[in-house]
């Protein structure tokens, strides 16, 4: 996917001005996040499980080479194949070749963020192979030619009415000429249209939530059942997964599953959790005759051992974006690439470069909600700060910010001058703004006042002045 992360500012402007998007985002607060809270409350062991989930992922990362080799050995032992892809281009080539080897014309795809990351669909199309997104949300945005706006609910930016219009436009030629108004009718129509595509597909392509080294299984967590149709009906099943998805054992999977669905959608368990291990066995009446796992690195191995390593624990639950006030205001598309929200703010500069995505780590109020809900306890604010520092060091921070900071540090290092100046500013702002209590425009602060008012200081002087008046002293340790 072509990144527009460098255009973050203008992306944000258009997001804030998009009424449909704002309606959809308003539902986030009462949707996923409230349900997550209730689910966590229902399970007394939830916090202990989060600690263990973090430890399991740390252990897996510290022994990643070992577990990947172990996983490979098991897959091969059961008649499957493992392909190693250092880069996105390698993965695209391997998958396209596999599809061609069975003369595939269509590929039934189950939602995969990694496939988005490597822009697989465009490449398959160029090779004359039609990728069909089968997850309802992915299907909707594929019809609309849009990227996903959320890692577990790709069409969360759309309202029901927008979906109805999209279906009428694309299903009309298939004979569905009535504009639907109910959600369940929309779901039923998509089910009907996609069912035939499943039955006709030559290859099924899925991602993986986990790869289990102990058994050589890929594990998929979904609600719709589309991933299961993708791995059962076509004659070839391809799993695309990145290196950090491997975990040691089924017991570890149990811990991670207990925190994943609850953090993501607030469900006790997703409707389908599936372990796939190799191709169809002797005597099986269904299932693919070929099973391939493509293991992609795409820059992740070089994150190991660095201060950013913790990001590799991510199990892509989406909780951080569901709880992020910035995501809640601008939605996913504004982030400009595949991964939005706090996880995107940290991961995107890593994967496509801080030059391109340096703005994203600034899209944070540092309220810390993301870290407080992350099931594997990734310190997202700390990692965002890391990028801000890198950005500053490399002189990528916008000029206005740099000059402003330089000016501020000049005064901050001269306390007397600083106090005199802020005292003066305080009196002036207080004098002119007292009647209204706020400013809706201020010279040099247009960026602030364009979207919100600036409060007029109340009488009583600056914080420093009040502190001194109340006999405040600095406590010494």
């Amino acid at each position: 996917m072509e990144s527009t992360a460098h255009d973050f500012k203008s992306n944000v402007d258009s997001a804030l001005a998009n009424p449909n998007l704002q309606d959809s985002l308003a539902m986030l607060k009462v949707g996923f996040s409230e349900r997550r809270r209730l689910a966590a409350e229902r399970l007394p062991e939830f916090e202990v499980l989060r600690d263990r989930a973090r430890d399991i992922k740390n252990h897996a990362l510290a022994n990643l080479d070992f577990y990947l080799e172990e996983f490979e050995r098991k897959v091969i032992g059961l008649g499957g194949h493992v392909h190693w892809a250092p880069t996105a281009a390698d993965a695209r080539r391997i998958i396209t070749d596999l599809c061609k080897s069975v003369g595939a014309r269509t590929v039934a795809k189950s939602k995969s963020m990694v496939a988005e990351e490597i822009a697989l669909n465009e490449h398959l199309e160029k090779a004359g192979i039609a990728p069909i997104e089968t997850d309802l949300g992915e299907y909707i945005i594929q019809l609309r030619n849009e990227p996903p706006s959320h890692i577990i609910a790709p069409a969360v930016h759309l309202t029901k009415d927008q979906v109805a219009d999209t279906f009428l436009e694309h299903h009309g030629p298939l004979g569905f000429t009535k504009r639907l108004t109910e959600r369940n009718d929309l779901v039923a129509e998509a089910r009907y249209v996609l069912r035939q595509k499943f039955l006709d597909a030559d290859v099924g392509l899925t991602g993986a939530n986990f790869l289990v080294a102990e058994t050589g299984s890929s594990m998929l967590v979904t609600n719709e059942g589309n991933a299961d149709l993708s791995n059962t009906l076509p004659k070839m099943h391809i799993v695309l997964a990145t290196i950090e998805k491997v975990i040691p054992t089924l017991e570890d999977a149990a811990v991670l599953l207990r925190v994943l669905a609850r953090s993501a959608t607030g469900q006790e368990s997703s409707a389908y959790t599936t372990l796939n291990t190799g191709p169809k066995r002797d005597g099986d009446l269904d299932g693919p005759s070929a099973y391939h796992v493509v293991i992609l690195d795409n820059g992740r191995s070089s994150v190991l051992g660095t201060e950013m390593q913790e990001i590799l624990r991510c199990i892509r639950c989406g909780a951080c974006m569901n709880h992020c006030p910035v995501y809640g205001a601008i939605g996913g598309h504004a982030y400009g690439w595949v991964y939005p929200g706090p996880i995107g703010a940290v991961l995107t500069p890593q994967l496509i470069g801080v030059e391109e995505a340096g703005n994203l780590p600034n899209a944070s109020t540092f309220c810390g909600r993301c870290e407080s809900v992350c099931p594997v306890r990734i310190p997202l604010p700390k990692l965002m700060r890391h990028w801000r520092e890198r950005e500053f060091e490399r002189h990528l921070t916008p000029k206005a910010v740099r000059q402003g900071l330089a000016l501020w540090s000049f005064f901050a290092r001269r306390p007397k001058l600083y106090r005199r100046l802020t005292g003066l500013a305080n009196r002036v702002l207080s004098l002119f703004g007292r009647a209204q209590g706020r400013y809706d425009a201020l010279p040099l602060a247009g960026g602030w006042t364009r979207f919100r008012d600036f409060p007029a200081p109340q009488a009583g002087g600056t914080f420093h002045a009040q502190w001194a008046r109340h006999g405040g002293t600095r406590t010494r340790p």
């Binding site: 990947l68 059961l78 368990s269 409707a271 191995s301």
Partner: protein, 228 residues
Amino acid sequence: MSDTESSARSHILNGIRRSLQRGPLTGEARHAVEGRLAAPPRGPDVARARLAQPEKIALFCQWAETNNATVARVAAGDVAGEVTAYLARNNLPARAVMAPSPLLDGYDWESQKMLSLRRGRGEGSDQVSITGAFAAIAETGTLVMASGPDHPVTLNLLPDTHIVVLREADIVGGYEDVWARLRERYGKNLMPRTVNTITGPSRTGDIEQAMELGAHGPRRMHIVVVRE
């Protein structure tokens, strides 16, 4: 493996080792991870996965219903009758495709003169399927289906209505109990092609985050729990 593939493989594995500042695991370190694989440590105990059998059964039924399945508890002699009655109650045709499983064949289907059964895998046109279950998890009301000649995966997915016949003795507490059963049945480290764990009918929250049933898999799931 071709030359390019094997060099891609070592490229990734060596990259990982370089970042971790070590070579391939050897000696003590290797021994430790091998030991962890051979005897997997259990996660923190979840109290609700550790109940006595009667409470386990009740908890399973409760969560299954919360997750939009329907449940009937019957004696073995009434399984076939319950299936016919369920189809009639829901205005569904008395026609189903059933998993070719000796266990299911043990119920008295002959008694249901109106019910027509086909045994085999699921097809796109099937409306109702009947399968057994390898196990069920009380903790979340989840069914566990292990694929094999006696349980085609398509039966779990293609029909609109999925009827599952579950023996009380196959209801276990948590995931860990299912893994133990799988290891016992298939051998350590061996798995059937597919293990589907299924919690209620298929659903989607993709339009305005509101859960709708019957996205791609069954819209209805009826669980017939067979009393011992």
